[in-house]
């Protein structure tokens, strides 16, 4: 029998062992990740950010039908397959509900592009998006999706695929994390904030602002920039005191201007309690949260007031008072007459769709950015209801178009994007000559969605039919540094039995030729993330061909994977 030597356990050895035990495998992995992030952050602090840049991520939840967002034009080689396989969902280029033709400049001039590859059509409800594309403000990236490794039909059954490939929740999370092969820990925007926020040296609030509640994409590994939620009506305020504390305060920007009524006395009492310091850590922590929230309210309120001080030259409300420029711009775009509304009534904006109100608030926060004092700002907004398994909209057998949910969704998207873009152009003009004036180049809006939908419909009746879950989708970017009027990536051949689709399926589920990180890494670099930090934010990027400076080579699937054609941004 082996004898065991008894080791005396004194206080020091106990502490040393405990420390080592506490730093178990998980802890060390996590710590190393944090250390790496912090190193990146520290390396960056030597350089200061002088310009302003805002990235807006718009997530179209539910999986937008990208096959009817961007369609092949009549001369496009994919058109025959579209007409053959789209069934009742196929949208003709003419008739009473015509699609909108666009020409991709980059493909029109590229010697490798097949004849007609530059011709596309946009959904009938996207007339203004066509204008944005034509004017060079917007570009589209085709066939982007979650990937663990580069994948093609011949390797589909042998390589690692994103877990739960066709489930909404999983794919939404994987788009937001850009790490499909890892359990969710953080979003790619959150990791950008981890690194860049320390450079927002005079920051008043977090650089991660969400108009769509707590989300995955802005979840960071550290807490240097926790996401801050703003509703489409502004900052979240304490309840029970009226709009902007109008029941309790005489001046919403002066938190001590209490009215001498019960609401004023109640708010004062609450504020007094919050101003106490507490010995108990939890009590003090709770108070700090409330104090910080009240301070953030003030900053956001000031930013919105600054934005609203920019008045529209002609729009007046029903009492003859001028409307704020941005609000009036959104109302006009949505066909709402501002002169019929009372601009002091918050419900006056209720006629705007939720997406429009989110983008309006983001536009206002950009206009009031000096109050927030962030050189880099990440905004998140979303628009749901794209899961069109039925009632998508299509043509009946007698050639009559039956409108559906996709038509309504695209109309909302069209108007919100146009109004937002108009505000960004106008803001540049308005601030021209000012110190730190806004430039149209200072923002980019990028879209995400769970996945694409099947090319083939799930029925043959125009009314109830729709499309089901697929994979590679088409996304868009908008802004001054976007190389607009182009279609990046590779547009599928739309053959449900071809090399673009998942083997075994006859529905038309395109295998992405571009991974999420190949699409998002240029956005991170545009924000100022250094080359050395890109691998921290996108650990899987090295598995794929570099998007930076990537060219177009459609000669085969391998050549497309090697040349992702994702050079869609200037100035990076």
């Amino acid at each position: 029998m082996t004898s065991r030597k008894k080791i005396p356990l004194n206080r020091r050895s106990f502490m040393a062992r405990s420390a080592c035990s506490a730093m178990g495998l998980t802890g060390i992995v996590s710590t190393l990740a944090h250390m790496k992030l912090m190193q990146g952050a520290l390396a960056n602090t030597s350089s200061s950010l002088n310009d302003y840049r805002a990235l807006v991520v718009l997530f179209l939840f539910g999986a937008k039908d990208a096959n009817n967002f961007l369609m092949p034009g009549l001369l496009n080689p994919s058109r025959a397959n579209y007409d053959t396989h789209r069934g009742v969902l196929a949208l003709p280029t003419g008739g009473t509900n015509p699609t909108h033709p666009i020409v991709a400049s980059n493909l029109a001039t590229h010697p490798s592009a097949p004849a007609g590859a530059e011709y596309f059509e946009l959904h009938p409800s996207l007339p203004d998006v066509k204008s944005l594309f034509d004017s060079g403000d917007l570009s589209i990236a085709a066939n982007v999706g979650t990937l663990v490794v580069p994948t093609k039909a011949s390797t589909y059954d042998s390589v690692a695929l994103p877990p739960q490939l066709f489930s909404h929740s999983d794919q939404q999370n994987q788009w937001q994390s850009s790490l499909p092969d890892k359990p969710f820990q953080s979003g790619w925007c959150g990791r950008i904030a981890d690194i860049l926020h320390p450079q927002n040296t005079d920051s008043a609030i977090s650089m991660s602002v969400s108009l769509s509640g707590i989300n995955a994409i802005q979840a960071g590994l550290t807490q240097v920039s926790p996401q801050y939620s703003v509703t489409n009506a502004g900052a979240v305020t304490l309840g029970g005191y009226g709009n902007k504390y109008s029941s309790a305060l005489t001046d919403s920007q002066d938190k001590h201007s209490y009215k001498s009524n019960s609401s004023g006395r109640r708010l004062k009492a609450f504020q007094d309690i919050m101003d106490y310091t507490h010995d108990h850590l939890f009590e003090e922590g709770y108070n700090n949260v409330v104090r910080q929230a009240r301070e953030n309210e003030g900053y956001v309120g000031a930013a919105l007031e600054e934005a609203d001080s920019w008045l529209h030259p002609t729009a007046q409300d029903n009492r003859g008072r001028p409307w704020p420029f941005m609000t009036a711009t959104f109302l006009y775009q949505h066909g709402i007459d501002p002169s019929g509304l009372n601009n002091s009534n918050i419900s006056a904006l209720g006629a705007l769709p939720d997406l429009a109100r989110q983008l309006l608030k983001i536009a206002q926060l950009i206009a009031g950015r000096r109050c927030l004092e962030n050189k880099r700002q990440l905004f998140f907004c979303s628009y749901g209801g794209h899961d069109t398994h039925q009632d998508q909209g299509g043509y009946s057998g007698n050639g009559v178009y039956v409108p559906g949910d996709l038509d309504a969704n695209m109309a909302v998207l069209n108007d919100a994007l146009k109004a937002f873009n108009d505000c960004m152009h106008a803001l540049e003009t308005f601030e021209n000559g000012q110190n730190d004036a806004f430039s149209y180049d200072d923002f980019i809006l990028a879209s995400h969605s769970d996945f694409n939908r099947t090319l083939t419909p799930n029925g043959n009746l125009a009314g109830p039919s729709g499309s089901d879950h697929a994979w590679g989708t088409h996304v868009f970017t908008m802004g001054g540094n976007v190389r607009g009027s182009n279609v990046y990536g590779y547009y599928p051949d739309l053959d449900p039995a071809g090399v673009w689709t998942t083997p075994g399926s006859s529905r038309g589920r395109w295998i992405p030729t571009c991974s999420v990180e190949q699409f998002t890494a240029p956005l991170a670099k545009w924000l100022g993330v250094g080359d050395s930090e890109l691998a921290t934010i996108f650990p899987n990027l090295d598995r794929f061909s570099s998007p930076f400076g990537s060219t177009y080579n459609p000669s085969g699937y391998d050549s497309m994977l090697a040349n992702p054609n994702m050079d869609f941004l200037e100035g990076i």
Partner: protein, 218 residues
């Protein structure tokens, strides 16, 4: 200068822990998640093997030059299935290496029974998906009805069969159909949440006679 052996001991312990951890993280023989405990003689299915065989995947890196992916087995891609003893009921080993889950197969004999109503069929399917999830710790990875049937008929890590393709409710396209002959709709909300629908007697989804049963974690 005071001699402090505990410091050296602590530092050595910490250094050793870090070195071991680094080797565990970066080494080629990284331990995988707990492997499913297959019965002796049983090999994992081709699906399972496919996950393990990604080591030779070659891609291009950001430099534009090809890089050999390291011995990545993506251990966190899929949860490890529940360890099971296949030597006794309700499991029944077949000569082709598949294993019948006899209790579920018997349950599914009642699918679309004339004595039942559609909602009972949906509840039965919900139960089957739930059993699948309990074993494989996630729902079938499927965007189409056909893929759900494939997962239930052996295309899974244990080659476990819940339904055979010759079941009277599986049509010629490999889809599980309702009592009116229309394929059920399996709608994956998440890895643990699957809505199941029948389009009803009119055989058209999107009409008032559709019947949908949400399936939740419980």
């Amino acid at each position: 200068m005071t001699n402090r052996p505990w410091k050296r001991t602590s530092a050595a312990l910490l250094a050793a822990t870090l070195v071991v951890t680094f080797l565990v993280i970066s080494g080629p023989n990284r331990p995988k998640d707990e492997a499913p405990q297959l019965p002796p003689g049983d090999a994992p299915s081709s699906d399972h093997v496919a996950l393990e065989n990604t080591s030779s995947q070659t891609t291009s890196g950001t430099s534009g030059t090809p890089v050999e992916l390291l011995n990545e087995a993506f251990p966190s891609l899929h949860p490890a299935p529940l360890p099971l003893d296949f030597s006794s009921a309700p499991f029944e080993r077949q000569q082709d290496g598949t294993i019948h889950k006899r209790d579920v197969m018997e349950m599914l004999q009642d699918l679309n029974s004339p004595e039942w109503e559609t909602v009972s069929d949906l509840q039965l399917l919900r139960k089957v998906i739930s059993v699948y999830r309990q074993i494989f710790r996630q729902n079938p990875i499927a965007g189409e009805n056909r893929e759900v049937v494939e997962a239930l008929s052996g295309k899974n890590p244990y080659r476990l069969i819940f339904i055979t393709p010759d079941h009277p409710s599986v049509d010629g396209d490999g889809a599980l159909t309702d009592r009116w002959g229309s394929p059920f709709r399996f709608h994956p909300i998440s890895g643990s949440l699957m809505e199941i629908s029948s389009c009803g007697p009119d055989a058209i989804f999107g009409t008032p006679d559709d019947i949908t049963l949400g399936e939740d974690d419980s």
